[in-house]
């Protein structure tokens, strides 16, 4: 009997030696084994997580360091024996069991490049159903599901599709935004590495629904493994007849190509992404015209995030009503939350909208990795707000976050302990904007540089009142006067830091300044403000 062992190929697992673990297993095994390189289940604190198939189910061991393999094999891992690294049956772990996995249903479970695995685990059911419906009904189904864009803005997917479907033209495109530049987010990457056929299926459904024949997946260059896996998966899908001139024999033509970014955060903004796909600088376009009507090469174009498109197969397979039944208020279905930063149990948590941030961070995330108190949580990437530890009783849904002056964004949750210096995080927000601005409009291009200077002055104790007022004006100007959300939302982390952590903006040397912002709480790390600004790669 050959024993089947799963060792993830996800790049987070690889980052801690999963390839070496797999090699050592092949060497040390005391019986014939078959090693399957699966995606990651998303319990990243357990990576590399090795699973052994037994009669009881898939028994997990983790985190397994390459050097630990020999000992584990000797201890009977291949029989599913007990060990201090043994986690039991993986599917029964509360962290996984408590999730509602629609988008990530197969990630970690299957071999990402096996078409047989894909179909055996429910793949293609959505596409098969879609192809039996008239395209307009597919659009209606997506609209009724309540699916909103997962890339950050939360625009209803069905309405966007309807615009593209209703714009006549011989050539239309479906473009998947896989630029995933936000710190604290990795779900797009994990889906592409762990279940790429789901994205292909979602894009194919979108293409059928709107009448598009050609698609692009724009993946950031920081994700070389995702690029490789997507390209291989597309080749397999073509061989299987899932892509190409006659998709599943139903007569529709759709082909798909991977394009790689080149290290520019702004290319995640959809119009900058389209410029980049056209081979140009990633400069943001003024809207209107909207991409749905005048998109890639001027043609009607669907632009959606990876998770938006990867949610579509489950919606078509299970029906709009089932999807719509999940979630709260105007946030329907599930969201793939990502726990990151200084968190004890980081990873993927897919659940219906509505769970509180507190529950995510504390119950599932287990608080900080350092074991110190949580002080701040940033949700929604570098343009999202910082929330104080006392403000986490917020349901994870679009409107509740907006009402709290925050943003759900792409679902990334970054935890900080009490050593964080929030003035330095506010400064970083401005620094990042200055670094990554496309340069098209002045409030963003110049405002961000000024923002860094002003924060430096405040922290140095130079006319803090005057400079705080100046920072407020600057934030106002950037919010009101920027063409896109890069400049328009950079004030969000800055203002939230000022609002919730005002003490951190006091002078660093005790006694330098009046007692107005006294009450310095929480230790500060020495050297938070040196070495000053980065000097690398500034040629934008």
């Amino acid at each position: 009997m050959t024993t089947t062992v799963y060792v993830p190929r996800d790049s987070a697992a690889l980052s801690l030696g999963a390839d070496e673990v797999a090699a050592n297993l092949a060497q040390e095994a005391d019986r014939p084994i078959r090693i399957v390189r699966n995606g990651s289940h998303g319990m990243l604190w357990l990576e590399p997580l090795v699973e052994v198939v037994t009669e009881r189910g898939r028994i997990g061991y983790g985190p397994v360091e390459p050097d630990a393999v020999a000992g584990l094999v000797a201890a009977g891992m291949l029989d599913g024996a007990g060990h201090e690294l043994c986690q039991g049956v993986v599917a029964e772990l509360p962290w996984l069991r408590d999730q509602t996995r629609l988008c990530f249903a197969r990630v970690g479970v299957t071999d990402p490049l096996s078409p047989e695995d894909y179909v055996a685990h429910g793949g293609l059911a959505g596409l098969r159903r879609a192809l039996r419906l008239p395209p307009a009904d597919v659009v209606a189904e997506v609209t009724e599901s309540g699916l909103r864009g997962r890339g950050g803005a939360g625009f209803p997917a069905g309405i966007k599709w309807k615009t593209v479907a209703g714009t006549p033209g011989p050539l239309k495109f479906v473009c998947c935004n896989a630029d995933e530049g936000d710190s604290g987010t990795f779900a797009d990457r994990m889906l592409m590495e762990g279940d790429p056929f789901t994205l292909i299926e979602g894009m194919t459904i979108a293409a059928y629904a709107v009448g598009a024949t050609e698609g692009y997946v724009y993946i950031r260059s920081e994700y070389p493994d995702a690029v490789r896996t997507m390209r291989e998966a597309i080749a397999v899908a073509r061989e299987q007849g899932w892509l190409g001139e006659n998709v599943l024999g139903a007569g529709h033509t759709f082909d798909l190509f991977v394009r790689v970014g080149a290290g520019a955060y702004i290319c995640g903004e959809e119009t900058a992404m389209l410029e980049s796909l056209e081979g140009k600088r990633g400069m943001v376009r003024a809207k209107p015209p909207i991409p749905a009507i005048t998109g890639l090469f001027g043609k009607p174009t669907v632009v959606n995030n990876v998770l938006t498109l990867a949610s579509v197969p489950a919606i078509l397979a299970g029906g709009a009503a089932a999807y719509q039944a999940l979630g709260v208020e105007r946030s329907r279905g599930t969201q793939v939350f990502q726990l990151a930063g200084n968190v004890a149990r980081g990873g993927i948590f897919e659940t219906a909208f509505g769970m509180t941030l507190h529950e995510l961070v504390h119950t599932y995330g287990g608080g900080t990795r350092t074991g110190r108190p949580v002080r701040a949580v940033q949700v929604g990437g570098p343009l999202g707000a910082y929330l104080p530890a006392t403000g986490l009783d917020l349901p994870m849904e679009y409107e509740a976050f907006a009402a709290a002056g925050a943003m759900l964004g792409h679902g990334g949750v970054v935890v900080f302990d009490d050593t964080v210096d929030m003035a330095s995080m506010a400064r970083f927000a401005m620094e990042f904007c200055a670094e990554e601005s496309c340069g098209k409009c002045t409030p963003c291009r110049v405002g961000a540089v000024r923002g860094v200077e002003v924060i430096d002055k405040i922290v140095a104790g130079q006319d803090p009142d005057g400079n705080l007022a100046l920072l407020g004006d600057l934030c106002e100007l950037m919010t009101e006067g920027s063409l896109c959300a890069m400049g328009g939302l950079t004030p969000m982390p800055v203002r939230s830091a000022l609002l919730h952590f005002a003490d951190d903006f006091g002078p660093k040397r005790a006694g330098d300044f009046g007692p107005k912002r006294a009450g310095d709480f929480g230790p500060k790390r020495a050297g938070d403000f040196g070495p000053a600004s980065p000097n690398g790669g500034g040629h934008r």
Binding site: A12, S15, G184, S221, Y265, R281, F432, N535, G536
Partner: protein, 158 residues
Amino acid sequence: MVSPGTSVTDRVRALVAAHRGDRGALLPILHRIQAEFGYVDSDVVPVLAAELNISRADVHGVVTFYSDFRSEPAGRTVLKLCRAEACQSVGAEQLVAHAERVLGIKTGQTTPDGSVTLEQVFCLGNCALGPAGQVNDRVRGRLSPARLESLLKGAASR
């Protein structure tokens, strides 16, 4: 690598030809050039402009817009350290300072012997296992100063 008798111009033309059917092919072509030569030499700009029938200014504008495209060769090992928020929450800034100290260079520079280039990056998608870095395209997680140094040694001996 350029085979004997093939000029850089010929190679660039061949790469352009390989992408002839692609829409908006400039970025894929630039990636191929950088993969093959290690950087995008200013000499290839006029060749690309002529082959693609666009202006030199357009090609130059694209090459300089994207931080991936280098104007000169990098060191034998490229170390990128993530400085984005999630990695900062677990000590990325201290790690960058440590790397600068042991390598004796600033971020963005290459050691005088050409062995290591140190660069900053904003997020590698490994944000639950920070501080994250990339050593020659392989993402690494939970980088302590000691682990970083041993990875650099490993890369150097390869």
